[in-house]
Amino acid sequence: MAKSYLVLEDGSVFEGEPFGYRETVVGEVVFSTAMSGYQESLTDPSYRGQILIMAYPLVGNYGINDEYSHSDRVHTRGLVVREYCKDPSPMYGGRTLDEFLKSNKVPGISGIDTRDLVIKIRTAGTLKGAITEDPEGIEELIRDLKRRPFPSESDLVGEVSTKLIEKYDFGKDVRIGLLDCGDKSGSLRDLAPRFNVTVFPYDTPADVILEHKVAGIIVSNGPGDPSHPVILNTAARTVADLSSGMPIFGICFGSQVVGVAMGGKTYKMKFGHRGSNQPVKYDGRVFITSQNHGFAVDESSLEGKDLIADQINVNDGTVEGLRHRDLPIFTSQYRQEVSPGPWDTSFLFDRFEKAAKEGRR
């Protein structure tokens, strides 16, 4: 039986078996505790540059179905599982995870004690790692991992953001803009029932957006570090420039971009929030949310600024949403109406819709 290895920068090596595409890959190793929704996660652009560990030990049980893809391709660099299903239930078509990874040229490794690995990352923090089938090269790989920067140190958003301005007409009354930090398709699916949408590349300047006469702007989800110099000079600047002119709604990465644009600071979390069971307290209520982020807005950096952290994670007290004191600007650090994850919080979209309509009047 072929062997494959998950190698971490701290020198630990886990032996398993290869599946999916056969290639050595390197990335930031993160884990998700979601018990289903593997396809949605794999195709989520926020996982760009990352090797994803599924904490749940059985992956791929219900197969792959085009309907569930979050974007047109797999964004994770690799997938680590305890066991993947070779023969999924036919209920959803029966296409396998193995085929899906192969056709997306992404390797997987199975037979790993993923709980052990999760504990390691929970303890050590996010680590760089690699999946390889070459036992000879492991030592060299570890040295390389130690030297190599985290993927988030490169301009990941630039890799995934749309390149051109695109107009979508869904037959609605209001047109809004979507500043695409990498999650165009997922956002479009959620926005289509409410708005006509113009998608802008992440580095579109504010004046260009203003020319398109949109009633508000949504800053999308995306991968990487929101305080990356490239972001500070592009998306964050655009948001700052637009802030007095129209309603703004930042989602996930977009939330952090808004935070940075309005003077806040972000930091890299020890191992982030990835899963579909994160409790967020907002306005006295608790909502169960789906999250995928490794960075967060530092609440103390908002002191004396116009933003208030009005949503807080019940587990660890981190910032989960921001609101401007006066302007119709708000954010959520978690996903809205998108799989995987609960659909508890669509009211934020309602609020944005209202603000956009009022702004138009």
């Binding site: 886990f14 884990f31 505790t33 979601a34 018990m35 289903s36 929704g37 396809q39 949605e40 904490a55 749940y56 030990p57 059985l58 049980n61 219900y62 179905n65 309907e67 569930y68 305890r82 066991e83 299903c85 023969d87 999924p88 239930s89 036919p90 209920m91 959803y92 004690d113 993923t114 709980r115 052990d116 999760v118 504990i119 929970r122 303890t123 899963g275 579909s276 069971n277 994160q278 409790p279 307290k281 006295g284 209520r285 608790v286 909502f287 169960i288 019940v314 587990n315 799989s339 995987p340 994850g341 609960p342 659909w343 508890d344």
Partner: protein
């Protein structure tokens, strides 16, 4: 925020019955602890003494009283209760609450229901209201109509426009009286039954979703409308098999994320619509062909499923539901598992949980084993693994049905096909067999309506079996097999090598299990939960900390007939006692319903099968010092000898009575010899290794004789036989007799009084916890008999002699800990029937009745304390009567004769306690569900030898105004003695009036029928007994029982009873 209450009441669920088992002891106990933690004063009422919740420490006042609305109202009034936590005692508690609400009692007493409101109970129970509510929130339910007559039912099917249809009676437990009708004849039959069982005489006729998948969601909601899902679960068996009868896994394994979110969202809508503040269970049928779903059922309370979800995730639903009910919001309640997070989150798990029901068909050989909408299982096991294969294999060997995994079963192709289509308890084994025969998984999935995903998983197990069988067993293959969950025992069977050798080889190559934690969060946060399961992987989470002595208590496994909640009670008390002594208490058990598997009871909980391999693994992983085998019933006793052998040369040892002495008690020959040496009489007996031998012994002893296989639990396959022919039938049908499986033959003592004695001894001194006299004569299994503490007919001389015999036996067996004796008294002679060198079924009953915690004392003695340390000696006299009555599953298991025999049939027990014997008797009988009539007709038909004894009973009934009906023989006799009777025809005469007709007309409200002492008549009255069960007419099969019941009726007619808390009993 917390709301203020003067006093809060928790209502328990009463005796263990099919559909309501130990899960409500677990939830009620959690609820009481949770309330105490918040500083509330609490009152608990339950009729079941074998529960932890009826311990005096659980609540401020504990009442062991029948669960009747009128008595509950008395307690409310007496105690000044102003709030009732309604959702903790199953359907029993909900029914009492809605009865109190409907009658205006709640209002009159100024008490409010908290958690589940009457409206929510009505909405979930009244199918029509449920339908309306679901339609209002836009959630689909099956086409249906509620009907109150058979004619309406026929009309309803016209509306639905296709058979089959489901019939669901309103307000019953575990689907009692429901069924599936494939044609009009069946419809009429099932409806008649269903209407009779329904408290409001209503059944629902419903569109069939047979063959659809079934999913369940456990939801929590607080007063601020915060909602979370604790867990979702997938039934492997499709719709048509009750969820309590289905193999279930958690989380759902074949549901896509999108469909999961659809069902999750629907579940949240439901709990909001029902306005529940607490927990709720939502069941869906899901059509795999097109993704349609229907809401099938909602339980607005904690349930069997929520107990399973709590154990499966570590999220304590009952505890949190309680806090929510008193006003806290989920984000205010700490998650005690992680210690750092809160109850407002959705647990993430990183393992597979499998639940398998435990059916009583091994005991009830005549019962229809088919699984349907009526629950038949008495208990369940849960297993945790990192793969489905591992979890299911662990589950199967936890069942204690003599299988080592997915064992082979001999079946023809036709039998397999039939089994796949119409499931019985054997279906999973039939699937294994089909796979072994090379059947296509598609075909198996298609016939059984299982998702092929699971069939293929079983296929992986079969493939592994073949690889092991074909050999050689390389270390790589052994590793693969262990990772898949194969037990050493199974590998030993497949390779024909001794199990111990496999174990040794495994250990030598470092292939030992690791232990992973159940932490609610898939390791995202560091947790300190002492809750583990075994698996194979790269690292273990159990640290070999050795700061104090460690003792493991082996649990009792699944609840089954003969081994009930009593043993869990003993295990929990054992844990408490160990902790009181500063010893680290470790539990191994696999029953998700129980208190012992609550993660905050022991210092460490291992949720694993109870086999030698699994137990030894934990002993090694923990470096255990001592093992207690006396508290897990026969499950743990059976391991004693092997454990001692395996532990030789290690630090660990079996605590208490030595396994060798336990074996003396268990082994008939060794025990007989001991009795002879001690000069204690025994009914004449012998051991037969073949039919011929058995026959010879029986003839020399003289019929009737009591026959049974050796080493049994709960009198399994025990019968009284009256002739050689019957002995032959027994040997041919009930047991296989062979060199290795002899049968035991004892003289059956007719008309003897049977006695149970429970003792605790330190090897030097003996304390008798209680001497209990059975109301029924010997021959009725002690688990079924009605028992009285203290004895009510025995002379002082006899009691003294019993004490003497007990002392002798306890000292001879060097008992350290607990022991139970069963004795018979006939013509002033005392006979030893058996000794059980362990905690018995009656330990909690005696402990409650006397206030002396025997299981705790026994544990401390096992640790080295002496009875003198507790100031205990002799035996405690009490100034009240405690009567134990049993409850039977006859209603739910058509085919089981309701006659009492040496074979145990009851599922649970209640206690009636009062200074007055008759009142105690009334309380016990009514708490056990007997609807004792205060007026009406009594049907008496007794055998010749009982005629004289039944006369005073008949006279008493006549004096109280009852009309006596009797068949010719009895009637003539009674008339001659001056008792006016109405003569009716025998049922076999086929003439009217007869008992059957009168019963249907409601003219007979009590039946006294003693079968004659030949076996034929056992079948004669069967029809009548069956009808009595269905119509819930109390049916007494012994004159002693009749006498007690009549005394109870008399006292109930004369006076109003008072209620008294346990504290009042023990401090007066």
């Amino acid at each position: 925020m917390r709301k203020e209450y003067k006093k809060l009441m928790v209502i328990g669920s009463g005796p263990i019955v099919i559909g309501q088992a130990a899960e409500f002891d677990f939830s009620g106990t959690q609820a009481c602890r949770s309330l105490k933690e918040e500083g509330y004063t609490t009152v608990l009422v339950n009729s079941n003494p074998a529960t932890i919740q009826t311990d005096q420490e659980t609540a401020d006042s504990v009442y062991i009283e029948p669960l009747q609305a009128s008595l509950v109202a008395k307690i409310i009034e007496k105690e000044g209760v102003d709030g009732i936590l309604s959702g903790m005692g199953g359907q029993t508690a909900l029914n009492i609450c809605s009865e109190l609400a409907d009658s205006g009692e709640l209002e009159r007493l100024g008490v409010s229901l908290i958690g589940t409101q009457p409206e929510a109970i009505a909405m979930s129970e009244d199918r029509e209201l449920f339908k309306e509510t679901m339609e209002r929130i836009g959630e689909p339910v099956p086409l249906s109509r509620s009907v109150t007559s058979i004619q309406e039912a026929i009309e309803a099917v016209k509306m639905i426009n296709k058979y089959p249809v489901l019939i669901r009676p309103a307000y019953t437990l575990g689907g009692t009286g429901g069924g599936i009708a494939y044609d009009e004849q069946e419809l009429v039959e099932i409806c008649a039954r269903g209407l009779a069982y329904s408290r409001i005489h209503q059944v629902l006729i419903e569109e069939s979703v047979l063959g659809w998948k079934e999913y369940e969601y456990e939801v929590m909601r607080d007063s601020k409308d915060n909602c979370i899902i604790v867990c979702n679960m997938e039934n492997l068996d499709a719709m048509g098999v009750h969820t309590g009868e289905s193999i279930v896994c958690a989380p759902c394994l074949t549901l896509s994320e999108k469909d999961h979110q659809r069902l999750r969202t629907a579940s949240l809508k439901v709990i909001k619509a029902l306005n529940i503040e607490g927990g709720c269970n939502v069941q869906f049928a899901f059509n795999p062909a097109n993704g349609d779903y229907r809401l099938i059922e909602v339980n607005p309370r904690v349930s069997r499923s929520s107990a399973l979800a709590s154990k499966a995730t570590g999220y304590p639903i009952a505890r949190v539901a309680t806090k929510v009910a008193v006003g806290y919001t989920l984000d205010e309640i700490p998650n005690r598992i992680t210690g750092t997070t809160f109850a407002a989150f959705e647990p993430a798990i990183d393992y597979v949980v499998v639940k398998i029901p435990r059916w009583p068909f091994d005991k009830f050989r005549t019962v229809d084993r088919h699984l349907g909408t009526q629950m038949k299982s008495t208990g369940e096991v849960m297993a945790i693994g990192r793969t489905f294969e591992e979890a299911i294999l662990k589950g199967l060997r936890s069942l204690e049905i003599g299988v080592k995994g997915l064992d082979s079963i001999t079946m023809t192709d036709e039998e397999i096909t039939e089994e796949l289509i119409h499931a019985t308890d054997k279906r999973i084994f039939a699937m294994g067999e089909a796979l072994r025969k090379g059947w296509d998984p598609e075909k198996i999935a298609d016939l059984s309506k299982w998702d092929i995903f699971f069939v293929r998983k079983l296929g992986n197990i079969v493939a592994m079996e073949n690889r092991i069988k074909n050999g050689p067993l390389t270390s790589a293959l052994l590793k693969e097999a262990k990772y898949m969950g194969f037990s050493d025992e199974k590998i030993s069977e497949l390779t024909s090598r001794p199990e111990a050798e496999i174990r040794k080889e495994r250990a030598a190559s470092g292939l030992v299990p690791v232990y992973k934690m159940v932490d609610t969060c898939a390791a995202e946060f560091a947790a300190g939960t002492p809750y583990f399961y075994s698996t194979y992987g790269s690292s273990t989470e159990v640290k070999k900390d050795k700061d104090k002595m460690k003792v493991m208590i082996i649990g009792g496994g699944p609840i089954r007939i003969g081994q009930g909640i009593e043993f869990d009670y003993c295990c929990v008390h054992g844990v408490m006692a160990l902790q009181e002594e500063g010893v680290k208490a470790i539990i191994i058990n696999n029953n998700p319903e129980t208190v012992s598997t609550d993660y905050d009871i022991s210092d460490r909980l291992y949720f694993d099968p109870i086999t030698l391999e699994d137990v030894l693994n934990v002993i090694e992983a923990e470096d255990i010092d001592g093992v207690i085998v006396q508290y897990g019933g026969q499950t743990s006793v059976n391991l004693a000898v092997d454990l001692e052998k395996a532990l030789a040369g290690t630090n660990a040892r079996v605590l208490g009575t030595s396994p060798d002495k336990m074996d003396v008690a268990e082994d008939r020959r060794r025990f007989s010899k001991l009795m002879d040496d001690l000069g204690i009489k025994q009914p004449r007996s012998g051991t037969g290794y073949s039919f011929e031998e058995a026959k010879e012994i029986a003839e020399s002893i003289g019929y009737p004789v009591l026959v049974r296989p050796s080493y049994v639990l709960g009198g399994r396959a025990m019968e009284i036989v009256y002739s050689t022919d019957e002995l032959k039938t027994y040997v041919e049908t009930a047991v296989k007799v062979s060199r290795n499986h002899p049968i035991l033959i004892d003289k059956y003592l007719t008309e003897a009084i049977e006695i149970d004695v429970d003792v605790v001894s330190d090897g030097k001194d003996v304390y008798i916890g209680g001497i209990m006299e059975h109301i029924e004569y010997a021959g009725c299994h002690s688990g079924d008999a009605t028992m009285v503490l203290p004895p009510f007919t025995l002379s002082k001389e006899i009691v003294d002699e019993i004490v003497e015999i007990t002392n002798k036996v306890a000292l001879a067996l060097e008992v350290k800990g607990l022991m139970n004796l069963q004795l018979a008294v006939k013509s002033n002679e005392i006979y030893m029937i058996e000794a059980n060198p362990r905690a018995s079924r009656t330990i909690p009953f005696i402990s409650k009745a006397t206030g002396i915690p025997l299981a705790k004392i026994g544990t401390k003695i096992m640790l080295g304390k002496t009875l003198k340390d507790f100031g205990l000696s002799g035996y405690k006299a009490i100034d009240h009567y405690a009567i134990k009555a049993s409850v039977f599953p006859f209603l739910k298991l058509p085919g089981v004769d309701s006659i009492l025999t040496p074979e145990m049939k009851s599922t649970g027990e209640v206690m009636g306690i009062d200074p007055d014997f008759d009142i105690a008797c009334y309380k016990a009988l009514t708490a056990a569900g007997n609807k004792l009539p205060m007026e009406g007709g009594v049907y008496i038909t007794v055998n010749d030898s009982d005629k004289e004894r039944v006369l005073p009973v008949a006279k008493e009934l006549l004096d109280m105004g009852f009309r006596i009906y009797a068949t010719k023989g009895t009637s003539t006799y009674l008339r001659e003695k001056g008792v006016e009777t109405t003569t009716v025809f025998k049922i076999d005469d086929n003439m009217k009036p007869n008992a059957i007709g009168l019963m249907r007309e409601g003219k007979i409200n009590l039946i006294i029928n003693t079968p004659s002492q030949k076996s034929g008549p056992v079948r004669d009255g069967h029809k009548m007994r069956r009808l009595a069960v269905e119509l819930e007419i109390p049916f007494l099969t012994t004159v002693q029982g009749a006498d007690a019941a009549v005394g109870a009726i008399k006292i109930a007619k004369e006076q109003n009873f008072s209620v008294r808390s346990m504290k009042e009993f023990h401090t007066l």
